[in-house]
Subunit: 410 residues, 4 copies
């Protein structure tokens, strides 16, 4: 790239912050290409495109990444058992590497020397964006205004931003800005910061936007059947009515609708950011919560006990990698490959009862079930000799007896 | 012990099976001491005592272990994050080592050469009983009739047992035996085997006995506040009405009542037994499920991120040890001690919303909170220099760039 | 198989113990097929065959498994970093599953209902044999005389065995039996039990048989170069003289010769058996010790840091599985696959200095080296901005500062 | 601290680099207090003190930390099994937190607002220094000239430094600077960078300074006995001659002498730095290598198998923490405490043969030995029923049989 290359591909959302960044970069002499990734968020993409162009973007890319998001990011992560700190289903974390990858592809196509994003310097998203950039194109140059002293000194608070917007005719949405920040995509919507910063303050019901409250969810349970192959859902059946949904994206959309309707997938927690800060997040992951419950249940039926221990171990590590922005990393390659191998036998059906905030797995079946009713029966022998258990226990006790002898010395 | 020592301390429940074993052991020439542990199960202990004596027991011990169960088993296990295969709260697993320990203490006091129990040779309980026996008294001799060929050949099925009962005037409860087996104590009731053996058959509502169904739970949420110190609950406040409960056992009883009332703590899963068999269990753990939710939430506020990773790792190992019967083992000593150290800072309050099957943590506070609202705020700097994050990310990316170069070679 | 099937395939060594077992099984009415696996041990296979036939074996199989042993067992295990309890290179452990697999294949071919082996009931080998049998043919019936009460009551000590041999004309080697037991194959020879049982007794020099003592090794170092591809050695060059060795088995034979000559690969340790007993073993693994040193060194050059952490974790688990007899298990499949993936980049050359008991890696190079001399140089910048490190450190310190604040409270 | 506080405590070595930094800081207006930590390195401390004062230091602290280094850093780390990437005994890593802690104590005593060090921005030491500073005094300000643009632009290469030294009369040692860098202390000396940067270049014999080459080591082995208590060495006996050494520091000094004499503890490896760079290091750790061999051997005798697995797991994590600079961290507190608990039983004697580069453990004994010669004997029963092993194996095989059935489906 020549010294003259001032092209920058900006991850643009259409909102105030990235609009200001877009204009600011132009004022700094950059040629800005706006990149809009459609990962299922609520957004008027055409309006955003028009806005970007009106602010001076030389080009605008809009890419529909929803199918890829579900197939290559959400399903593999859920198949791998990813869940951060035991609770968070990684809604934002999973979308970032996909967006950044698509953004790098645009940069490569446009031969741009720079990429830019509007994430702050205190959060996780900056890391997820930038590690992906560097992993996929090591020599890319990153413009992250919220970490640039020049930008930070110009925009010390919200009023500076409003002044800048006013001066440069950047439209500020009429509606009052929400007193907290949100990120949404196909998998979830998150609410954090602002009035949510105090972890001892109960989150208002009105903050939730993707799920009804369990109180307002239907008073009657709904039953569905989810079919898996290689740990991925391949078919959703409504047991009442018989509707059948197939295809990655349609299934996930239907799960989202079900979760929203039944108030499933709400979470309010304090979590650990990669930058060493604790933060409080409120999440709504309706379809994801149902998928998680079903998949976990089927794993119980089809995964060998010792493989399950490996699976749990890998799941913890994979979750941290996803959360911390290492989706594209050599260690993730190794773990993904192992997780995929484990999922080869995870197939079959799980019946779920959906009721007021919860997806209860109530029945499961599989052609690859390791469950053997003859073996597990308390009554039937079925190739299991109970007398063997005595030897099993006594051999396991050998160590404990030796330890007892040493303890008795003290 | 002399050759003549034929004393056996039998873990006696008052039910048909252990009554038959009691009589059978007497017929084999043993001097049987019946041992009844009160770990909170529904049982008429005096009636059981009378029954044991009438069948020929030379002595009957009844020991109230409820307080010890809560204080030294349940609370430490929950503080350590114990949960088997991500879901099971270890209700039966935690009671067994306590019962076996108390049984060994009776054997030592009575100078008995034998202990006996009525657990089958295919389940986990035999292991939990016997490993505890051997760990605490290596030279004890164990009589486990369900693993003794002599007993097995005499009792090939239920009708043999009924015949034996009939012959020896062992009362068989009028009520029809439930077509599945149960184990209950303060922490939970489990239902398994029999008609529950088919994991694809939905468990009937009538099988549940300790919780109302979420459908029948109150239509209005109830809020409580649970206070922790060293990871153990020390105070429960009812936010509506202001009732305050203190003391280990009273708090747990109150949590059980709350859970029962709100339909909290039901679980239906296929799990991996230590003997290599998969089994399906249906569990009700009302108080435990509430305690778990609250404790996990407070850990998020008070445990450092990297300590949390150790905690999660230890929790997985501790869970396996508890499930597999290694409560009394050198490895458990090490892990318990580490878990206890981690819990030193886990103190504070969690507010829970209880509603139709779920305990939602909605607010939390702690004098030892590691949450710093200034740091986590997106707006305020508070000692955190956003520019630092750029260096943090670039250094983290060094490895990824090197990996990219190697990958490009292929 | 019919009720009449009395065919048993016996893992036969040609020694006294398995000869007695062979005869004993025949006396019990079995049709015995002797199976001799050549895994590189010092043995006169033809003499052993003649002996088996003379004792009444209906058939004798001799199979040369050396190439398979090196290619599919030794090299993959070393590539996976397998080493038990930090020291033992798993010489016996790796041969057992291969022998048992070949034995099962004979049983399947011969349609035999039984397999038998001569391992004792206190060691690890019985487990490695039998778990392999069951894993590969679940309905096989195992005859392990040293665990059969009938056999044990007949052979209470060595004199019973000598009497039996005498009675049945089983030749007892003229040479006095060594006062300890040995197992040898291509990878190692082990010495244990008997006079070696006391871990405080120094092992006599004369016990070692495969390596010269370091004292008697050459006084001049020898240099070789070992080339790897996918973590397996593919070429050995003698730097002095220029001899080149290729091919899995020839390379390993040459490494063994080198190790023997330079007194490399001796080990004297107390280890933990799977049955819960500690035992003391003295091992000689000449070629293996050289291979280990070279491979570990090359991993340092070619494996990413975080992948290395996974590698170390997997290596520990794989080592336990191999030692405990779970070579053929679902968990081993998962871990082997992951280990293989990690080794894809482990290629290049390691120069070793061999001198009096040690193989010192002294130089290494790789086309897939992740070592970047510009980056690691203290003087040259090379794409690394030292200023970034300040941010990296300060962000890493955020947690520590928060922890300090909490600690100060106490 | 007031705005006027310009006091800085500099970790001063007496060498050219920190002398230049000392003078440079004074020129920038700082009041420099030189801090010299004696951790056993070869240094003329009085000459260094005079040099610092002559360059303008307002004060000089010399602190003898050798005893503390051995007792509170080296021995606990070795007891915890710390070894980085399977090979490096952490010589530099262990000294840094101690030096930094002592430096902070001086800063607190002197009420200095700043601390400074001369480590580069590409290595590990900067991290170890600075994380310790921040962990122990969160509001300390760190001056790390090699990461300060102002300093870097002034000193672009070695000639700039020599010019500066010339101008400010900083003595440059007559002896030609070694073409690589070194760090030494009681535990080790490291050699890296410069001519050692090329990992394919064999390290010259003359670079080694603390050990004789194995070739020049005595031709006769020497035997010593090392006694441990709680995993720490408490007594060293020379078996030939009978000399006895006691006391933490005297024992370690004697081990160093033994190692140096016998050419023990050399290591040449490529390792992974925390900043994501690979580097090649050549180390000499004579006493440490002997201590490591002895301690590992005694662990084999006294630690239960499952506790050993925890120990190995913790050792890996502890090693990373030490290497990466997290000696003072909440996670290290947890792991140290667990490691200490495990070592409670590690006591007894190990006899070592020292010969040409290797410390061979040849015998070991302990009052807390878990080795039971009756149990491990192949001949004697001793409370172990071989028949039990059959049950043990068959129960362990249950899973494998189920897995076989599923695999057969494919």
């Amino acid at each position: 790239m020549t010294q003259e290359n001032k092209k920058v591909v900006l991850a643009y959302s259409g909102g105030l912050d990235t609009s200001i960044i877009l204009k600011w970069l132009i004022l700094k002499g950059y040629d800005v290409i706006a990149f809009l990734a459609d990962v299922g968020q609520k957004e008027d993409f055409e309006a955003a495109k028009a806005k970007a162009l009106s602010l001076g973007a030389s080009k605008v890319y809009i890419e529909d990444l929803k199918e890829e998001f579900v197939t290559d990011y959400i399903y593999p992560a859920f198949a791998a058992g990813a869940i951060y700190e035991g609770r968070y289903l990684l809604g934002t974390s999973l979308a970032r590497p996909l967006i950044a990858k698509a953004q790098i592809e645009v940069a490569q196509k446009e031969n741009a020397a720079f990429v830019a994003h509007g994430a702050t310097g205190k959060g996780n998203d900056q890391i997820r964006f930038e590690l992906t950039y560097y992993a996929l194109q090591p020599d890319i140059q990153v413009l992250a205004p919220w970490k640039m002293p020049e930008f930070l000194s110009e925009f010390k608070g919200r009023s500076d931003m409003l002044d800048f917007a006013d001066k440069h005719q950047i439209p500020v949405t009429a509606s009052r800005k929400k007193p907290y920040s949100e990120d949404d995509n196909l998998l979830h919507i998150s609410h954090e910061a602002g009035i949510l910063e105090d972890p001892s303050a109960i989150c208002d019901e009105e903050i939730y936007s993707r799920t009804v409250s369990p109180e307002k969810a239907p008073d009657t349970a709904e039953f569905v059947n989810l079919t898996f192959k290689n740990g991925h859902p391949i078919c959703l059946k409504f047991l009442d009515g018989g509707k059948v949904v197939e295809g990655s994206l349609p299934i996930f959309n239907a799960l989202n609708d079900l979760g929203s309707k039944h108030g499933i997938g709400r979470l309010d927690m304090v979590e650990n950011r990669f930058v060493g800060i604790k933060s409080r997040g409120v999440y709504e992951t309706p379809g994801g919560a149902i998928l998680k419950a079903a998949h976990q249940d089927l794993c119980g039926l089809t995964i060998d006990r010792e493989v399950m221990r490996l699976y749990e171990l890998f799941a913890g590590k994979i979750s941290d990698l996803i959360y911390n922005g290492f989706w594209f990393s050599p260690e993730m390659d190794v773990l993904s490959s192992a997780a995929k191998k484990i999922q080869e036998n995870v197939e079959g059906d799980v019946t779920l009862k959906l009721y007021k905030g919860v997806a209860y797995p109530v029945a499961r079946t599989s052609a690859k079930s390791l469950y053997n009713s003859e073996l597990s029966s308390m009554d039937i022998e079925g190739g299991y000799n109970q007398v063997d258990a005595g030897g099993f226990i006594r051999i396991n006790a050998i160590r404990l007896k030796a330890h007892h002898a040493i303890k008795s010395l003290k």
